[in-house]
């Protein structure tokens, strides 16, 4: 949207305002008797979104119901990772939500790139891996061990070789 802040109905009376500087309560400029919460815009330098498919120009199909389009439109640079690179992605693709190449900086072919999350219609989330991640996140030491095992110094191929390939969802069994 490119706006500096947005009014929000909610959170008044809570301790959130004492602990954050990106939300505050201000006068409604159109009604001096009313106050409203406003939230500062969040504009990430880079957004990374995983797509079901993309074309070489950066047009892509995202899952429906997510916030990736909104996040992309707020970010300075957008990297789309995609399960599949196809000749051309069009706006009327029935598999998901279209994002125009106008919003996208770069495209990366990344099969199973959502792991340990899933991709609707393609593969399920890896629940065992997510449980391992949650268990590891209980302390700095165990989380560091998780990062050493799966992330630090690992290539994408090495990561994929370390984890179980998620089960493929039947074509009509979304």
């Amino acid at each position: 949207m490119g706006v500096p802040y947005i009014p929000v109905r909610g959170l008044a009376g809570t301790d959130v305002f004492a602990r954050r500087t990106d939300m505050m309560i201000v006068h409604n400029p159109f009604d001096p008797d009313e106050k409203t919460v406003v939230a500062m815009a969040i504009n990430p330098d880079v957004a990374i979104c995983h797509a079901i498919k993309a074309d070489r120009w950066g047009n892509a199909i995202l899952r429906r119901g997510g916030d990736e389009l909104l996040i992309s439109q707020a970010s300075a640079k957008v990297i789309v990772t995609a399960e599949e690179i196809v000749d051309q992605v069009t706006e009327d693709d029935p598999d998901g939500l279209f994002i125009s190449a106008l919003n996208v900086t770069a495209v990366v072919h990344a099969p199973h790139g959502a792991h340990p999350a899933g991709v609707p219609g393609m593969y399920e989330m890896d629940r065992d891996h997510i449980k391992e991640y949650i268990a590891a996140s209980r302390s700095d030491e165990t989380f560091q061990a998780y990062l050493e095992k799966y992330v630090m110094g690992k290539t994408e191929a090495e990561y994929q070789a370390l984890v179980t390939r998620p089960a493929v969802v039947a074509v009509d069994g979304v």
């Binding site: 109905r9 909610g10 008044a12 009376g13 959130v16 309560i25 119901g65």
Partner: protein, 244 residues
Amino acid sequence: MTDRYNTDELLAVLMSRHIDDFDTVACGAISMLPASAILLAEATHAPNIDVIIRGSDVYGVGMGRDMHFLAQRGKLDMFFLSGVQFDGEGNLNLHVIGDPDAPDRRFPGGYGSGLLAYTAKKLMLFRTEHSLRTFVPKVDFVSAALKTDPTITRMKQQIWLFTPKAILRWDDGLQRYVLLSYHRGTTPADVQAATGFELLIQPDVAETPEPTDEELRTLRTTVKKRMIETGTYAQWAENAFLPA
């Protein structure tokens, strides 16, 4: 408490009685008790309610944004909220126990609660433990507030708080909790003794009508089946209720 029903069944039945037919009724993503209360109401006295259950495979799928916008426009009739602590000022805590900078315990927090606490027209608060550690003089962190400054637009609300011991009502004029009724097996004095703030207790306060056999039977059969069939906390529904 009796051996006729467990705490979850008691709260589901009592909350379901407060659901009015034709209302738009919603609950969040980890809301097993509200979901069972809503589906019990739908199966009994409120067959025409519009239902949004965020943790369901069937009820209100993809309606998250709709639900919040409905609430912001004052068109969400009822929402359910719980928290780790409640206080006599009408605050709920879903964030931390202890010092927020060095918490003893950290909870998921909640943006939605801080919104829905003043936009849903009927607010159903509930807590499965009624004790001095859950009903405290002052919460450790205010995640949602029943009191807001008069300059903030707030829906005209009805607010209840359901516990294993009692039903409390938030009196907007008095800005405090009133004991609406106490459950079988407890007394107004017991309820007050388990509450870390002062309740307004009228001398003629009544006992809560117990769950009826019919309500319990419907919960354990129709509602349980419906929850399992619709992917509405199916695993929870398998084990939550006593045998029909």
